[in-house]
Symmetry: C2
Subunit: 606 residues, 2 copies
Amino acid sequence: MFEAKFQNFADDARSGDSGPRLAALREKLKQRKLDGFIVPRADAHQNEYVAPCAERLAWLTGFSGSAGLCVALVDGAALFVDGRYVLQAPQQVDAAFYETLEVAANPPPDWIAEHARAGARIGYDPWVHTPSQIERLGKALSAKDMTLVPVEPNPIDEIWPNRPAPPQGAISLYPERHAGTCAQAKLAQLRGKLQGADAALISDPHALAWAFNIRGADVPHTPIALAFALLPRSTPPTLYVDAGKLDAKTRRALEQFLIVAPPAQLEEDLRRAGSAGETVLFDQATAPIKLVETLREAGGKPRLGEDPAALPKARKNATELAGARAAHVRDGAALTRFLAWFAREAPKGELTEITAAQAIESFRRDTGLLRDISFPTISAFGAHAAIPHYRVTRGSNLKIAAGVYLIDSGAQYLDGTTDVTRTLAVGPASTQFRDHFTRVLKGHIAIARAVFPKGATGAQLDGFARRALWEAGLDFDHGVGHGVGAYLSVHEGPQRISKTGETALEPGMILSNEPGYYRVGEYGIRLENLVVVEPREIAGAEREMRGFETITLAPFDLNCVEPSLMTREETAWLDAYHARVREVLSPLVDETTRAWLDTATRAVGG
Amino acid sequence: MFEAKFQNFADDARSGDSGPRLAALREKLKQRKLDGFIVPRADAHQNEYVAPCAERLAWLTGFSGSAGLCVALVDGAALFVDGRYVLQAPQQVDAAFYETLEVAANPPPDWIAEHARAGARIGYDPWVHTPSQIERLGKALSAKDMTLVPVEPNPIDEIWPNRPAPPQGAISLYPERHAGTCAQAKLAQLRGKLQGADAALISDPHALAWAFNIRGADVPHTPIALAFALLPRSTPPTLYVDAGKLDAKTRRALEQFLIVAPPAQLEEDLRRAGSAGETVLFDQATAPIKLVETLREAGGKPRLGEDPAALPKARKNATELAGARAAHVRDGAALTRFLAWFAREAPKGELTEITAAQAIESFRRDTGLLRDISFPTISAFGAHAAIPHYRVTRGSNLKIAAGVYLIDSGAQYLDGTTDVTRTLAVGPASTQFRDHFTRVLKGHIAIARAVFPKGATGAQLDGFARRALWEAGLDFDHGVGHGVGAYLSVHEGPQRISKTGETALEPGMILSNEPGYYRVGEYGIRLENLVVVEPREIAGAEREMRGFETITLAPFDLNCVEPSLMTREETAWLDAYHARVREVLSPLVDETTRAWLDTATRAVGG
């Protein structure tokens, strides 16, 4: 009945080829007189989603997670993963060849120091590491008399037969009716942020997409084009990109304000800038050390700092916000159709995690405007819901029965990116579960209702979302909110609500509001809406104040709520939110869904 | 009647000598071919309170504030101060010679770039700057083709006639009945934190006092000895200190576990360590660049990091906590005597800010155990209370009449350091003032009642203290809480409650809880108790939880409270706190005070 086009449910494959692949790599290392080589899960832009040709870590080790690092020594090899992957990784890699270690408790330099010879030379590909990553690693290794050595080409590429070609996704112009500002105006804004540098290298493809008003199709779930750009102070910027990604019309449009050049010319241009003694600003979070050193070796002055596009991109303009609101109304109607369908079907006991994930995507596709899902849907029943980053596969797929079901999903529409989580009870909800659910909801409402002055950071708000859980001795181990792009990445910085959220929250920023609670082996709860930071007028205010506008529209499952645990202000917020959901979405859904929505959004306040 | 022995009320003097002093400095700069010289308000340990011989900034410019930086160029000079001192500084310095600038809006490198010639050489004294300060400044200047040049001896010292000698305060042993742990055990603990370094330089005198169980008398208000120490991995530590500070008995006791050496030997020892290729850990917050470079130039490897004593010192042991509680009971009784006296006397209209400051110190001295006040008392009536760091002088001294009075004061006892602020109404309190006072109190109570898991930071709690103010569009521009030492500094890191508080709050840490609100030109409110982080048992808890034990004991002025604005939980906390204050302090005060205390601590809850 339903179908998922943007997600597959393939099982995590266990690598059977570790032996020969590692042997081939070691042969290459010996030829280059190296004692080891570092393979991160990274491309040349430090992207979250990477192209198949950049999946070197997965090819070598079998590990398919979204973050990890392998150190292959001439004897011995280890895979370092974070807490999310400590269970998955050992199932994917061959323990005969790889030790799997949790990275926080086992810093790679310590492991290298213990396993490599004194004076060892450890190689790395300078295209897939930033200068600060190499500086940190290099410092730690030099304290042990070891050295880091840049290696090109990447030895993995030399031994990987039939390695996929780099993606050639078509680049399209992002129309000004969605972007709100023309590229020329954005470039003028960026030039004002060069801090005295002669040029800035744009290495983050999201920044590039925003600055040039383009979108691409090189990686899943995020409409970016893999490319670099150099933005000089006064002459037109150069976009270094495979010409095959540009049709004639798009190229002509871009050439109104920029120069298109082949990727290989970037190094030449940096050398030229270097020999002229120029200062170039690099984004410290994404620029590959290769390019920084190319400038430096030619005599230039690299300056590492914040991507000048990061903050302007985070602060959406009125057009982008209007797009986001429209996308959320559309997405809310699709999600509400799903919720009504789920309420009817789940009690029959025939749904599975996969059929539910297929259904939510199908309802979104029915809008006729779905470009992609914004990340693989987390469709999780029972104990699976307690795994915050659970991904359902044919092997893990559970039948949905009486209990707790959590669905975290999102969409890419041309006018906006969505990300929403609902937690649903199938059958009666226990008193304990309702207590936990209501505490998470109280945290969600505390963020939604928060007012705060100009300059306040996400760190200062983080505790609001946790307070009701803390009072019961409970907590959750992820941030409260991440930034979200405008038809771009569903995970965007620098804005965030977490204990490390040091960026001031400014009007126009879109963030998630997603406290949770996870009871390992039993159930998980996460309640997520997206919010927009907005100016807030308060009578008698002495400060410029801000608050959040909630833009996600879909009912929370009232069967899970215990209103007696809520304050009057909290139930008033919930009732007002549900009234708005009903008012906005009722005209957009079928009659059956509308009838369900009426009940689902009933008032609970006194 | 009352007297202040530890504080004077001298007016801020305006310098009349700026012309000749600046001319003499410029002559020295010319001799050394320098274009300018930087004079920070700092000593060789980055102390908050410095000895008279280190008051170079005040001697040169006339500015007596606790933070500031002067840049004297061959033409032109500027004084950079923070927001606290933008009013005071111009009154103290001679505008004919110094431009006064707010430092955040006017970065010194920008001013230098604008006022010095291209290629300028700017001098600094390498004893009074840390490496990161110089690195930051040097980077900014090198972008403008200027260079920073270390200069010794400090040219100010060469032109300052009758410059005070370095202090020779006697060092005493801090008895183990107060310290709780012997120095040997502390040193073993520090050695475990060398992170592979061969030695650590202890440059923070507070760390040194804690580690060696000593106290000194070199600067006001904080019982530290100005000295450095080197702690090698396995051999005894060396204390570099003027022998005149040690009597024979103290020296013998210290020589049980350390070597006493003259200050000048430190550089020799660092050179020796350097030529042996040793790695030395330096405290990046306090180590002078002079010593870091001495090691590096000799071939050693400086490693900049956290002072290894910072966290152990912050986490007080059971003995230190028992001392802190005893000190706070004693201090609370003295403060309560003051509050009762103030309630009787203030309405007569004869008190002044100075007589009140004298009275509080006198009541504390009556305990027979007062060693010093922990900082100059902030005794502020009306509009003065809106200045968070107000210091009363004979010239500023106001008569206390109907209105708002704020007193922020603290004591140094051998068993503990106190810091407490109360805001009092003289005469009837307006509805608006009670609204503001109650919002500050709600913030204070939110911190006092907070429970949070292991690992939670002060940044995550900061918003709790501001929420009730934010809801009215109000805020305050200082942190919620700073760390406090055990008979040491009243301002201790790394623990803090503020938006930059990234240190996890751990059991035994002492912090202030001091939200405020300042209505410029009218009044100020600050409500401050000290709290101790303690483990907290919660039924059903899944996390290791913590909460705060409030150790300051003194009534809040109930005439300023509007109970109808408080929740039931908030009034319950206030009533329970007042009941404890009454119960603990009643037996310790005279009958008149006791009668007043009974009324002052009446219950307000429903």
